[in-house]
Symmetry: C2
Subunit: 311 residues, 2 copies
């Protein structure tokens, strides 16, 4: 059974103090009505929130607690990466069933705090509650970016090339294997995805528009062309599909946490050790098409992402 | 049935654009990976998050949707008030059961957005998801305060007087009536509590420590003496108990959203139209005591707040 709210807060407060050197931006963290941040002069702040709900975003039988904590934070950090930002502070609202063992909670925090520390973000507050049902987490990440330098979804222009980082489809293919009843060893990139913070920062001044791929390439590309009021053509054979995945996983699977961006400039083949692949170009006519090797195009629809619901 | 995620986001985006003039601090709101805030030079930022979970913090049978939205935001705004801050931006993570009627969602947003507008805060982002169970909301409010001026829980000193705004116990007494099966007309302060934003700002430079009363006077006073490393004596007959409430409701009921603060200065009897009552004083010895009219004291324990759980 998890400890009473006050004990949980004290425990987390200690974990945070032990684990993190604390960054300049955070004046007051856990333990008051609000956390207090002092942003650096000339910086803008980035704010994002993301749910991680049991049986929707993870399952206790499939995901070790450290992975749930890590992935919960990755969802937020990946949004900061997609703006070209630097994470500063993390806030976690966590509701737990009354019969959940404390060991699960400790391991969840371990996974979350290790990733936070790696990226220089401090857990600075949040809320705790008893859950009427499964484990409910909502992560909020605050980051910073030099004024006017954030990379938006709306900056793509006709003629820009379209790029992705890393490989796509591992999320989709792993989910298929889990649903198929396969025993999947809970290690590696699907269980511990690496948010592309450094790559995102290096793309400031290069990318014209950027988004992270959390709902699948087709859905996230549609957000860029929607917000930019342009169209997109992608090349089927250019998409970097992960080893165990299919093209459909890459297009419509979720949880890849790679970056999708457009640029009219020269883009390096590798940034901070991460391969960058050109997969298409932006056109004036709004919509989304896939082109095969013979040059034929067909309309592409956004596929969207499958939740882990029981239904 | 609620609309698909994308439609909900578009709908909220329109509601927000219609309803709010937008404040200077918000550069980019709903519709990108992150919202972008540009804090005023010399300001510090306040951040708070609070869950509102169905059957824990509210019940659909008891609370109209407008009240659930209003109270959800009040929880966050009241934390900003308790620091002496000004709300800037609101982020809402909202998970909805698939069979929830759209009308409920619209009315929830109406209640939330009306209160946001009243206090000059813009709904700037959040997350939506399908809920595996009841309605799950997590509100995050970002506020600002002039650098170094935030009112902390840790500033109480021996000899300071203890004060509260308004009247206490309405939350506790209303919950008792609801549990007792009474039909309670869903209007008034319990259903639409007013966060004490203006009072809080006016207490900068006057209060030495402050907190909002969300868990009951006894629990929230214990946070002040814990963080300040002092003790507190309160006078039983001085506590301003609401008309329908008992002293126990005032001490141990939740959801009052009044301010509790300490001060060594002259404190007005009324601030921004809200009565201020002196209820005790701070002592050196750590702990919490209640004093009766004859001067006898007895130890006071924190009572805590009762969730609306079914058990």
């Amino acid at each position: 059974m998890p400890k009473a709210e006050r004990q949980i807060i004290e425990r987390v407060r200690r974990l945070v103090q032990e684990g993190s050197p604390g960054r300049g931006a955070l004046v007051t963290g856990i333990g008051d009505d609000c956390a207090i941040l002092r942003p650096a002069a000339g910086d803008e702040l980035l704010v994002t929130t993301d749910f991680s709900l049991e049986d929707m975003h993870f399952r206790r039988a499939w995901h070790p607690p450290e992975s749930v904590g890590h992935r919960c934070l990755t969802r937020g950090l990946s949004d900061i990466a997609a703006m070209g930002g630097q994470p500063l502070a993390v806030f976690l609202s966590l509701a737990l069933p009354s019969d959940l063992e404390q060991r699960w909670v400790d391991r969840f925090y371990t996974g979350l705090l290790q990733l936070a520390q790696k990226h220089g973000a401090t857990l600075a507050g949040g809320d705790t509650a008893q859950s009427p049902t499964g484990i409910l987490a909502d992560i909020m990440v605050i980051g910073s970016v030099p004024r006017g330098k954030a990379l938006l979804r709306s900056g793509a222009r006709p003629g820009d090339r379209i790029y992705v980082t890393g490989k796509l489809g591992l999320g989709g293919s792993t989910v298929r294997r889990l649903y198929g009843g396969e025993q999947v060893r809970p290690t590696g990139t699907y269980f511990y995805p690496e948010p592309r913070i450094t790559v995102g920062q290096n793309l400031r001044g290069i990318a014209s528009a950027m988004i992270d791929i959390s709902d699948g390439l087709s859905t996230d590309l549609s957000h860029i062309y929607d917000e930019s009021n342009v169209g997109a053509v992608i090349y089927a054979s250019a998409i970097p599909v992960a080893a165990t995945a299919t093209l459909d996983d890459a297009l419509n699977g979720g949880d890849d946490y790679e970056l999708l961006f457009t640029s009219s400039k020269r883009v390096p083949k590798k940034i901070a050790g991460v391969p960058i692949t050109e997969i298409g170009h932006i056109v004036q006519r709004t919509g989304m098409w896939m082109q095969d090797d013979s040059g034929k195009t067909k309309r592409l629809k956004s596929g969207g992402w499958q939740h882990f619901s029981r239904s």
